[in-house]
Structure formats: C-alpha cells, structure tokens
Amino acid sequence: MADGGASSMIMLVTALLISGSASAILIGQWGETVRVLQQQERVAGLSSEVDVNIAGDLAMVNFDSATNTMTLYFINTGEHDLSTTDYEVVVNGVTPTSKTETILPAGADWEPGLLLEVELVTAAGFTDGDDASIYFVGQSVAIDGVVEPVTAQAEVRLNVV
C-alpha cells in the first residue's frame, strides 16, 4: 500500500511536470504565433493608411503644346509621408520622357495633405479637349521597415495652351 502510494505520487508529480512543460511550450509558441499574426495585421492595416489621389480640375489639365509638358497634381490623402522619388506617372499607358516634381506649398517631404505638382514631358503631343488616362504608382516612405505601394488613376481632359 505504501509502495503503491509512493509510485502514484511519483506518477502524479511526473505527469504534472510533463503537463506543465508541455503547457509552457504550447502557450509560448502560440504567443509567438499571435505576435506574428499581429505584425501581419499591422502590415495589412498600413494599406488603408496610405493613399494618394489626383487633385485639381480633371476637366482642365494643363498641357503646353510648345514643350509637350503636362502639369498634374497629386494629393497625399493618407496618414504617412509618400516618396517623391520612387513613383511613376503613366499617360495613356506610356511613360513620359521626363518628369519633375515640386511639393506644394513647400518642403522636402510629401506629407499628408500636401500636393505634389508633377510636370511630365510626353513624347506625343495632344490637341485641346483630348481625354487622357492617367495612372500614378508610388509608394510610402518606410514605416516600421515596411514600404506600402499606392496607386491613383483617372481619366482627364486636356487644356492645350
């Protein structure tokens, strides 16, 4: 009886130790999994915090026929700065031959609420009243090591001067 009680006690302690260890490992691993999921959720959430739109008069986009220069404005409607170097604007599916940009009203960072004035030199000319398809693709600056892409597209009417 005494032997039986001792062996039962040993089994109980052993079972407790094994169960406890297994529990600690399981909970730890699950916690790690949850942390990874939270990081992925954070990255997914960034996409809704980064946004850009075409600003100004879509029915009157300026195009200087003398220099084939189109002037477009983009507004940062997200919550984070956008890159002013890593972006491209495509007009009717064609990349312009050159582009220059200016942040309005002023500054070096394209912060939320600010405009980016982009002057595109196109290979082809346009006539007054032409419609053009504008596609902007850019990205945010690094946010916690993550860079989020942004796009904007619109059909605009050109005011050729």
Binding site: G4, S8, M11, L12, A22, W30, Q38, A59, M60, G113
Partner: protein, 221 residues
C-alpha cells in the same frame, strides 16, 4: 487497488484541467487578436469623406485690388471712398491720424472697371477744413468670388483645402481666405464666401476645389 485508481483519476483530472487551461489561454489570445484587428477596421471604415459643393463662382477682371495713398493731405476725418463717377461698385474706407492726414485705406467692395477709376474722398461733416490735397489711386486686378457649402459631416481644416484655376495655380485655401470670425475650420453645413485677389493671370475659366480625395469644379462667369 482503490488508492491506485484514485491516484490515476487524480492525475487524469489534473492533465485534463491543465490542457483546458492551455486551450483557454490560446483561445483568449486568438480572440484578443481578432477583436483588436476588428476594431481597427471598424475605426478606419468609420471615417467619412469630405463632401462639399461650389454654389457659384465669378471673376471680375477689372476689380480694384489695391489702393495707394499718393498724398495724405491734412484736416481730414475718418470717412469713406468711392469712384469719382460713382459707378462700377467700388467702395472703401480710410482713417486719419491726429493731424487729419490719411494713414490707412481699406477696400470694402472691389467693383469692376475697364480702367482704374479716380477715387473720391468722402468727408464726414467734421472735415470741412481739410486742405483738399489728399489723393488716393487705385490699381486693378482679378478677383474671384465664390460661395461654397460643406454638405458633408466632416469638419475640414482650411489648410486641407486647395484651390485651382484652370487646372493650375494650386493655392492653399488658408493663404487666400480670411475668416471673419477667425475660424480655421469649415464645419458641416457652413457656407463660406471666398474673395480671392489674384492679379497675376487673366482669363480664368474654371475654379476647382480639392479637399482630401474629393474635388469639385465650377465655371467662372
């Protein structure tokens, strides 16, 4: 034998109990994660877009946009200004210093002219003794008038609004609009009247307003 069975049942119960605690802990963490991400998405989806309308807009290309005190004179009292022909819609006011010299002028209505009007100084009854030498000259330029209403539920900061004329000349609303009540926000249901002096370009056709992702345009008449 009974003791062995009792111990086995006890060990089994403990193992089951600990297992349930583990499962509960995992479920708790999973539910917490789901709630956090769900709340974030609800919060993001709950942000309405700004909505507004440009009620009307007009441009006066011969408006009096500035006044220059060419000669201050003396013996004047605070009074009003008008065009010499009393036509075109210009009105203004002026103030004087202790000697009755004109020291400041304010345009109260810009009017619209084809050539800069001569300005008449209208004295009050107390300034009959002025020397008659006071002289004020007017300069013409463009003035854009526009009425706009915030038709949405979002309060829009004046700093977040951009103006464009003919798709160019991007100008921050706050740099050209002065609130009569010193407010810097455009509240839901509020109508604003913009008087935008811009003598740099003539021949505007359209005025546009951008706030956030929303843009609205109107023909200038």
């Amino acid at each position: 034998m009974k003791s062995d069975m009792g111990a086995s049942v006890g060990v089994g119960g403990l193992i089951v109990g600990i297992s349930m605690l583990v499962v509960f802990s995992m479920a708790y963490q999973a539910i917490t994660l789901q709630i956090d991400s769900g709340l974030d998405r609800i919060e993001q989806a709950d942000q309405p877009m700004p909505t507004f309308v440009l009620n009307d807009a007009e441009i006066w290309e011969g408006a009096v946009v500035s006044l220059t005190i060419t000669a201050a004179g003396s013996g004047y009292t605070d009074g009003t200004l008008k065009s010499a022909t009393n036509t075109g819609g210009f009105t203004g006011t002026y103030t004087v210093d202790g000697s009755g010299a004109i020291v400041s002028v304010v345009i109260t209505s810009h009017g619209n002219y084809s050539a800069a009007p001569s300005i008449d100084i209208v004295c009050s009854t107390a300034c009959a003794s002025n020397d008659g030498l006071g002289d004020i000259t007017a300069a013409l330029g463009d003035v854009v008038y526009a009425n706009m209403t915030n038709t949405g539920s979002v309060t829009i900061s004046h700093d977040d609004i951009w103006l464009f004329v003919d798709g160019l000349d991007a100008t921050r609303f706050s740099s050209v609009y002065t609130s009569t009540i010193s407010s810097e926000n455009w509240y839901s249901g509020e109508s604003l009247r913009l008087v935008w002096l811009d003598a740099s370009v003539t021949g505007f056709e359209r005025l546009s307003l951008t706030a956030g992702a929303r843009s609205s345009s109107i023909e200038l008449v």
